[in-house]
């Protein structure tokens, strides 16, 4: 289009008229002359001009279309979508409103790690003009503009785990804190919109936003967040005619709320002084979405080498770019340094050790998960009950228990064949003289020295139990700080007075649930997505100033169906949290009257089989099971709305299980 017009426009108008006469008069000579004149004419229209013309043209057309779009009645896009995909199913809010459901119990949302917004209240010189602007969440514009400044402000103090001097970054409050993570990427927004359909509004919904970088108890120490949550829940119960609240924590919020329930009943000064009846009086149900009750293996790789599956691939593709100091960036080191100041990352290290996560040659999921089920997943719900039965025969036993192994051969060999050099011994004689690094970014790896790095690699295989030693070994400061706030073991005797300390409160294996027999606990999570479960590592070749370990992405499993891909062993889960972590407490640890659940709070497992969006119009899907996208899953939203409107777990249909969680739970030898 544009080319044609330009040609016509430029030369045809004047020159042609003239030229054709000339041609007529003396054809042969002027045929050579005319282009010269023409070229003189077209000099005005250089490349630069045509570029301008082109941009102008595109802009004008764009504006025109934009104008048309804006004047168009708002309902047209919906017609278009419906014309393509057929009539849309009603969102659950509309559907349930037609059934006559209305507001009943107030709702409390507890967001997880990373999804909550953080804003600046006080900063250094370089962050001028960002007062009360979002540093985290929203557009992340500042991250690109002034990355170093941003990383500096997002970091906490490496010693205390609280604010560094002169910097105050605080959570955004209200529903806006976590409705959208970035523009267009919903987290809670869909759920909020659907709840609003049956009449919920600000006075009956509350977002318990907290600073997710801090350890749980520190949110109370610094911001009085737990007191505020308590006061708000009490207020909502009081103003809604004594109706108890339905709490909906997501991801790390699950642990945070577990901590809250213990805190609120504990006497001051450590607790909130609500008395032992508080939870029974104020909480109707806790509906945990994608809860990492027992931690996630992803956090190990995050702490160990700041990478997960996706990043590991990027790192191998562009080792020079990301690893070295091109442009003085040193992205990973900066990232690692920042995340290591966040105590909360420590809260998600796998808990329960080898009893839960498996030993060197044993793991609960070991032989029963089929990683090749990819083809089946697309066929949605109808086929899902067949998944577990398929080709058990050609599946190898996967050693999920070895959360980190160095080298593929080590990952697959039997434990008796692995030579290990004892880490602890080695660390005794480890010398601290390697402290001569002159890299400008300081990370703890530089304090360790090559010797210890080698020692760590020589130990070959780490289980959920020994991984703690490894982390203590490579990042002593973080673990020392985190160790004061979190614990990862299994309690032998829950009545031991030491378990009254707050560091045990967020570990379901070291606390009792509150005495609230009428309360209900739901574990709601997606299944059917390969989820990181164990890693194969190698020592990086580049030695200076970089992270010495990385996931060995060259390691692939033998067959198509293998669970080992790119150095990562996958198991069933929701892409972040393995089923084991999300479901075990509800399936076994708290099922019935156990020592962890002395009052016999009923638990329900609600699994949602993952079905990827059928086409682009669906966006992130209405049947997704992925860790964050599940918040837009219509089945899950419907369950939540029903409970909020007064239904019990029994009325919802009780357990709803696709995975083998009950089988795995049987294999775990946990004393109840």
């Amino acid at each position: 289009m544009s080319f044609l017009r330009r040609r016509k426009g430029t030369d045809s108008s004047k020159s042609q008229n003239l030229r054709c006469n000339i041609v007529k008069e003396d054809e042969k000579n002027n045929l050579y002359e005319s282009p010269r004149k023409e070229s003189y004419n077209s000099k005005k229209w250089s490349c630069w001009d045509s570029c301008c013309w082109f941009i102008g043209f595109v802009c004008s057309v764009w504006w025109f279309l934009l104008l048309l779009y804006n004047t168009m009645p708002a309902s047209i896009p919906q017609y278009v979508t419906e014309a393509i995909t057929g009539p849309l199913t009603d969102p659950p809010g509309v559907k349930l409103r037609k059934e006559g459901l209305t507001v009943n119990h107030p709702v409390v949302f507890v967001p997880g790690i990373v999804t909550g917004g953080l804003e600046l209240w006080e900063g250094h010189q370089c962050a001028e003009g960002l007062f009360r602007k979002r540093l985290w969440g929203g557009s992340f514009g500042e991250l690109y503009k002034r990355p170093l400044c941003w990383a500096q402000h997002m970091s906490l103090d490496n010693e205390t785990g609280l604010d560094p001097p002169g910097i105050r970054v605080r959570p955004v409050s209200g529903l806006v804190a976590a409705d959208y993570f970035a523009a267009g990427y919903f987290v809670w927004a869909v759920l909020i919109a659907n709840l609003a359909q049956i009449g919920y509004e600000e006075k009956t919904m509350y977002m318990a936003a907290y600073d997710w970088r801090l350890s749980f108890q520190n949110t109370e120490v610094r911001d009085q967040t737990l007191s505020r949550i308590k006061s708000n829940i009490e207020l909502m119960v009081a103003t809604n005619g004594g109706k108890k609240v339905v709490v909906i924590p997501h991801s790390m919020g699950v642990l945070y709320f577990l901590h809250f329930m213990k805190w609120v009943e504990a006497p001051p000064p450590m607790g909130g002084g609500g008395g032992s009846e508080w939870c029974a009086k104020h909480i109707k149900a806790v509906m945990n979405i994608g809860g990492p009750f027992l931690g996630v293996p992803k956090s190990v790789s995050g702490l160990f080498s700041v990478e997960a599956r996706d990043i590991a691939i990027a790192r191998t593709f562009a080792p020079g770019f990301l690893d070295k100091d091109v442009f003085g960036l040193q992205t990973f080191q900066h990232l690692m340094r920042m995340t290591r100041t966040w105590d909360s990352t420590v809260s998600m290290i796998p808990k329960g050790g080898e009893t839960i996560w498996g030993g060197l040659d044993w793991s609960p999921e070991g032989s029963s998960f089929n990683c090749g089920a990819k083809t089946l997943r697309n066929n949605s719900i109808n086929n899902t009950d067949q998944i577990p039965n398929i080709n058990l025969a050609n599946m190898k036993n996967v050693n999920y228990g070895r959360i980190i192994s160095f080298g593929k051969d080590v990952a697959e060999a039997h434990s008796s064949k692995i030579e290990r050099v004892d880490l602890l011994q080695d660390s005794m004689k480890a010398d601290m003289l390697a402290n001569l690094t002159n890299c400008d970014i300081w990370i703890e790896y530089h304090d360790i020295g090559d010797h210890r790095i080698k020692a760590a690699a020589d130990y070959k295989v780490y289980t959920a139990g020994s991984i703690l030693d490894l982390l203590h070994f490579v990042s002593p400061k973080l673990m020392a700080r985190g160790g004061a706030h979190f614990s990862y073991g299994i309690a032998d005797n829950l009545d031991d007075p030491k378990y009254q300390h707050y560091k045990y409160w967020s570990n379901p294996l070291e606390t009792k649930l509150p005495d609230a027999p009428d309360m209900e606990i739901y574990s709601m999570y997606g299944v059917g997505i390969p989820t990181e479960r164990a890693y194969v590592y190698k020592v990086t070749t580049a030695t200076d100033c970089s992270i010495p370990f990385q996931i060995d992405t060259s390691v692939e499993g033998g067959s198509e169906d293998s669970c080992l891909k790119g150095g990562v062993f996958s198991a069933d889960g929701d892409e972040t949290v393995p089923v084991l972590s999300a479901g075990l407490m509800a399936a076994k640890g708290w099922r019935g009257k156990t020592r962890f659940n002395p009052s016999g709070i009923p638990t329900y497992i609600r699994e949602y089989s993952h079905a990827p969006p059928a086409n682009l119009l669906e966006g992130r899907g209405t049947q997704s099971g992925a860790h964050v996208d599940i918040m837009g899953n219509f089945a899950l939203i419907e369950d939540i709305i029903r409970v909020a409107a007064g239904a019990t777990g029994k009325e919802l249909g009780g357990d709803h299980v696709y995975s083998d969680i009950f089988k795995w739970a049987e294999r775990i030898n946990l004393q109840l």
Binding site: G9, S12, C126, R132, G174, L235
Partner: protein
């Protein structure tokens, strides 16, 4: 370069092709007549003819050229713009930043002030944001988007009628209409900026943050400012939430009392809250009589509309203020009649009349406070504002003495401020004995007799449509109204609205405050009909700007446009006084902050509550802090750091410093006690109120 070459080649080939096609026939003819030279001429003519024929298609390229250059220009501008923008973004952020004036926060931090008392901000009318929670189909896609404030108001232009419908309340109940839920935006974002770049609380918040305030000790008590105060509790539990928030902040900040900072209408909202919280349930919050004494250190009222504002009268009466009336006079056709089916004023009026809160701002205290037909507390006020405001601070010290003397001479055109509405200039000037008196009995008579006449016309229905021409004329014939008769007038022209709103607000003066009827919530927001709570350690500040002309009373006329769909009255802005007179464009001005006259803002602190009075039985200390208005001296200052106008005063550094000092623990005496520029003390002396 290569592309340029190719481009040229293309042109060349193209032109050759063109020529052959154009001259195709001529070529053939040429070949035939080649030998004969004479025919060359004819052939030439022929070619020319062809060319003439071709001229019409060739016109088009000429137009293309124009379009082309347009495109070129746009493209050029866009590219340059992007380039500059890119450069701008590449520059280090600190380089281009306009050197901001260091606010008082930085200085006070250096002095060593830190956050001590938690602070509660109470926004006023109009400045708070409202968002949609449930709406009609026309508001699709606006869920949890701002309908009012904060955003850019783009929706108002896109779907104005839809928006008006959603912002209106139910005419009978004053609550949500069926199927529409519009709620206040919670949190600090609710009222920090009204529109992008137009700060309300943002400057104060930023300065408070400098000395250590943050989310846990700074709270914005957002409420739906369209509702009557008690209805915010009934619908949203706004008062209960505020109570719980204050209690929480009190406890979690080490048992430090709260400093409340209400603005504009928020002042009477907070007054209502103070009574509500100590009253036993179900009507009140059940905090008990000691609640205020225990939880509140100081109430720092900014631009307080304690006794109402005359602006609310004109707003309810004819949906216009000083500025709007000009527009209405300039373009009567556009706004008054039904061109484009807009009926802007009628629709706006209909919306505003569903808002109970506007009624709360009607002048309170009747003729005792606001003056009667011939007398008003401000009388003798000089309106030489233009001169006064330019004669800067040097004058302020001896201003009080000087102006007294000056006034003695300058008074030519006595302004009868007491006549809040008068029809025609004579009515506003003549002595009362020469005027027909407003008689409420007359209203009732006419209203009953003319009731049959309620034909409705048009969809933009205002209560004026139910009035007959006769009664409209009657209203105007009564000539002049004081604040007392004004209420009768409003009851007459808008009976439903007043019936609804008067269940929630009262505008009188209490004879006997111990009368049990004053326990009803409708009296709580009127300082003349309530006692302050028993909290002798509490402090009350009245902080407001002075030195700006403020609307005080109006000269009205019947609108010439008498068709049924229009508002029958409008401000007569052809009426002007002589030089130095307070009458301009149909509006009498008095001293104030552009919205609230000094009388309304300062009287309670100056007299009504000063010392131990019947309105203030426990003798709560009151302080008057006036801030003289100074327009910004340069563009860099934006809306000014010494402004005294109603909203801009929130950016006044002196005011911010006062608030911060009190929040950091200072008392009223420590920040300097009273600070008075206006004649408020003298005015209050003239008011004969039993204390």
């Amino acid at each position: 370069m290569a592309s340029v070459l190719r481009f040229r080649k293309l042109c060349y080939v193209e032109s050759a092709v063109k020529c052959t096609s154009v001259g195709y026939e001529s070529f053939e003819i040429d070949e035939k007549l080649d030998e004969k030279e004479e025919d060359v001429l004819s052939a030439n003519n022929f070619a020319l003819e062809i060319n003439k024929k071709r001229k019409q298609p060739k016109r088009q390229p000429k137009e293309w050229r124009c379009l082309d250059s347009c495109c070129w220009i746009i493209g050029y501008l866009c590219t340059t713009w992007w380039l500059l923008l890119f450069c701008y973004h590449c520059l280090p952020v600190t380089l281009l930043r306009v050197p901001e004036l260091p606010g008082p926060g930085v200085r006070l931090k250096r002095e060593g002030l830190t956050a001590l008392h938690p602070v509660v901000l109470v926004p006023g009318i109009v400045t708070g944001g409202l968002e949609l929670w449930e709406g009609r189909p026309c508001a699709d896609g606006l869920f949890r988007k701002r309908l009012w404030g904060g955003g850019s108001f783009t929706q108002i232009f896109k779907r104005p009628l839809c928006l008006l419908e959603h912002l209106s309340l139910h005419y009978e109940t004053g609550l949500d209409p069926q199927g529409i839920r519009v709620r206040a935006v919670p949190g600090l974002v609710g009222a920090d900026y009204f529109a992008p770049g137009y700060f309300v609380w943002a400057v104060l918040i930023e300065n408070l943050a400098k000395i250590g305030y943050e989310g846990k000790n700074l709270h914005m008590a957002a409420y739906d400012w369209r509702l009557s105060f008690q209805n915010t509790e009934i619908r949203d539990h706004a008062l209960t939430r505020l109570k719980s928030k204050i209690e929480l902040m009190y406890i979690s900040n080490g048992y430090k009392k709260v400093v409340a900072v209400p603005h504009s209408m928020g002042v009477i909202y907070f007054l209502h809250f103070l009574k509500w919280v100590e009253t036993p349930p179900p009507m009140g919050g059940g905090g008990g009589p000691g609640w205020c004494a225990k939880h509140i250190k100081a109430v720092m009222n900014i631009g307080p509309a304690f006794l109402g504002v005359p602006k609310a009268v004109s707003n309810l009466f004819s949906a216009e203020g000083k500025d709007v009336s000009y527009i209405r006079a300039m373009a009567p056709g556009v706004f008054d009649s039904e061109i484009l089916g807009l009926q802007t004023f009628e629709r706006v009026m209909r919306m505003a009349r569903t808002w109970d809160s506007i009624v709360s701002l009607l002048p309170k205290g009747g003729e005792v406070i606001w003056g009667n037909m011939d007398r008003s507390p401000e009388e003798g006020h000089v309106c030489d504002f233009s001169k006064k405001s330019h004669s800067k601070t040097s004058l302020t010290t001896n201003n009080v003495n000087n102006s007294d003397v000056k006034r003695g001479f300058l008074v030519k055109d006595l302004a009868n401020y007491g006549r809040i509405i008068s029809f025609g200039k004579p009515a506003s000037v003549l002595h009362s004995s020469k005027l027909p008196t407003a008689d409420s009995k007359e209203f009732s008579r006419t209203s009953t007799s003319e009731n049959f006449n309620n034909f409705s016309c048009g969809e933009a229905w205002t209560e004026y449509d139910e009035m007959s021409r006769q009664s409209i004329q009657n209203v105007a014939a009564d000539k002049a109204y004081t604040t007392t008769t004004l209420l009768d007038l409003l009851r007459f022209v808008a009976p439903k609205m007043m019936r609804r709103a008067e269940a929630h607000f009262s505008h009188g003066i209490a004879e006997n405050l111990d009368d049990p009827k004053y326990n009803h919530y409708k009296y709580w927001s009127n300082p003349l009909e309530t006692k302050l709570s028993d909290a002798p350690d509490m402090e009350i500040y009245c902080m407001y700007g002075v030195g700006i002309q403020t609307e005080r009373s109006y000269v009205y006329k019947l609108s010439p446009n008498s068709r049924c769909k229009s508002i029958p009255y409008q401000i007569d802005n052809s009426v002007h006084g002589e030089d130095g007179s307070c009458l301009k464009g149909g509006v009498y001005f008095a001293d104030g902050d552009e919205s609230v006259p000094v009388l309304s803002a300062g009287f309670m602190c100056a007299k009504g509550w000063r010392g131990r009075t019947r309105f203030n039985p426990s003798g709560i200390a009151t302080y008057i802090r006036e801030y003289r208005h100074k327009p910004p001296t340069s563009l860099m200052e934006g809306r000014g750091i010494e402004s005294g106008s109603h909203v801009d005063i929130m950016g006044n550094f002196a005011l911010i410093e006062d608030i911060m000092r009190v929040a950091a623990g200072a008392t009223g005496d420590e920040i300097g006690g009273d600070q008075i520029h206006s004649d408020i003390i003298k005015m209050s002396e003239r008011i004969n109120l039993g204390l």
